[in-house]
Symmetry: C2
Subunit: 342 residues, 2 copies
């Protein structure tokens, strides 16, 4: 298949689901065109995934990678309190990968997740790459005018919440680095242990963005500030505090850690609290809520609950953790592409 045949093929797959309200022109022109809803704001994010930096082909599957490419962008749009609408994908692909079944499986994972959230693929680009796969995932969402939730709106006294559990993805990555592998989907007679291991590996390989929570917090204007946890709680809480010009005090005992992580990492000399604080790629949402609104938060959205982990303070940039009778500074220790600490 050459480049033009490939684009035609993807276009057919993108159009399979019929016409979409607001779409003027999808794949197949110089650019895509959509209607902006009257009075809405447009929200746009881009996420670059590079082979052997952000993923290793030997450790994942093409469909999981297609899922993840969209998931990381869905997480960004959710963190703005916005509704995801339109996706574009730029792919750089080495010839050997091009000639394998990789791309079909990649798009399987992508389209499956896109369908779940009503996202339409409207454009992209494809280029040969010399040796590594590169993926740039672009996602466009919308909010009512002035409805987006920024990192900068947290105020002293606001309560700090996170969705789901923290540290799962980092635990999954550590297990992969130590040789753990996903069971094949066809292996029916999985042991309980294999199933639990798979669960953690998938938390890294196939993250679930918190689209429902993001939308709810945006629509009901319940969050004063929000960020997704992609670099790690320590880094991302520091980002949020820097943008809001506030500090934070976190209670270590309140950080939601999956019992499975505690159990599995405990046997492998990993500290679950460190994974939860510094581990990246959880793609949970970290958000702040004014104290008078805390009671308005639902218990669960899409089966995911939230935990209150601390409070915003008035000391700009001072982010601390209390753990038993100690209080210590939480420095950003998450993932930095050019200063790898983990």
């Amino acid at each position: 298949m050459n480049e033009f045949e490939f684009i035609k093929h993807i276009r057919a797959r993108a159009e399979e689901r019929g016409a979409f309200s607001g779409l003027v022109r999808g794949i197949g022109d110089d650019a895509a065109v959509f209607n902006a809803l009257a009075g809405s704001d447009v929200v746009v994010s881009t996420d670059l995934l590079v082979e052997d930096v952000d993923f290793r082909l030997a450790n994942t599957r093409a469909d999981l990678l297609g899922h993840k490419a969209l998931a990381v962008s869905l997480s960004d749009i959710a963190a703005m309190g916005a509704r995801p609408r339109w996706a574009l994908l730029s792919l750089g692909v080495p010839e050997a990968v091009w000639n394998s079944g990789f791309l079909d499986n990649f798009y399987d994972g992508f389209f499956k997740l896109a369908a779940r959230y009503g996202v339409t693929l409207i454009g992209g680009d494809v280029s040969r790459a010399p040796d590594k796969v590169v993926i740039d995932s672009i996602l466009i969402g919308e909010t009512p005018k002035a409805g987006a939730v920024f990192r900068s709106g947290a105020r002293p006294g606001d309560h700090i919440f996170v969705t789901g559990f923290l540290g799962d993805a980092a635990a999954g990555l550590r297990l992969i680095e130590r040789g753990a592998q996903l069971q094949q989907p066809s292996q029916e007679a999985k042991t309980d242990e294999a199933r639990r291991l798979d669960y953690l590996l998938l938390r890294h390989l196939q993250p679930e963005p918190r689209v429902g929570w993001g939308l709810l917090l945006g629509e009901q204007q319940l969050a004063t500030a929000m960020i997704d946890i992609s670099d790690g709680l320590s880094s991302d809480l520091n980002h949020l505090c820097a943008e809001s010009k506030v500090g934070a005090l976190i209670d270590a005992a309140c950080i939601p850690i999956d019992p499975l992580v505690t159990e599995i990492t405990g046997r492998r000399a990993l500290d679950p609290l460190m994974l939860a604080l510094h581990g990246g790629e959880d793609f949970e949402l970290l958000f702040t809520v004014a104290s008078e609104n805390v009671g308005l938060l639902p218990r669960r959205v899409d089966g995911v609950s939230v935990c209150r982990i601390g409070e915003i303070t008035s000391e700009p940039g001072r982010v601390r953790v209390t753990e038993k009778d100690r209080t210590w500074n939480l420095e950003g220790g998450g993932f930095d592409h050019f200063n790898l600490k983990t």
Copy 2:
């Protein structure tokens, strides 16, 4: 500089030019946010440039590459008849390049071109890359509602036009491949020959998108169909005809070839007509105009004139060229990343 310091630095550069009408949130959050003008359509394109496929670091300069990354996207938006507004850049950068002055110079070229067309950088992503630079350029524009010009609107009898000259970029690339190099800007006493050679090399390395023409043709609804010539006239005219379900008849004698190309390639056993027909990356606009509107076209926009090169015919997919007393089929022979013919 680490990743976060870098983003802060680019954010400061992007914000240097002050606040922009319609921008709600630029660099520094999970996603960028802008107002869509009431009643407007949003136009979005993405272009991936991969080192050693789309460019070689040894043959260009970082500032020219920054210019080109934006120029190719400006060309896409122009080909929709739209006004460019918002840019995002995803960069994958090997450590050695990261630690050089490359990125500062790259952004110099990018911002200089962006300023010329009122484009604001509102977001992006940066990742380490194992060995090659990758750049994904995302550009968002706008048109009045239903104002975008598609590839699909050409009708039999429409006249076919191109802006500028064709084949310059291909000639420049051939010269580079044969060892020609740009003179240093500091070399004052350039010979006339060196100046002419530089001109052609820059047509490849620093293309000028036809933003003014695109806007005019869109706003005045003069073009029935439009595409930018990125893959080569032969490929792109075939794309336009396929989408419009029409054919075309081109007069070889009318194809605008720069006398400089004729002269320089003539001495180097290259056929200027073949460069003009099949050479990619000219980033000129190819468009069709209903015969009753041809008289309404301005002679020049931003100093660039257009040439009528042929006519749309009613035979779907049949694209032909008349040259003296011969008529032959013009197959798409331009750049295909996975089927390199040039």
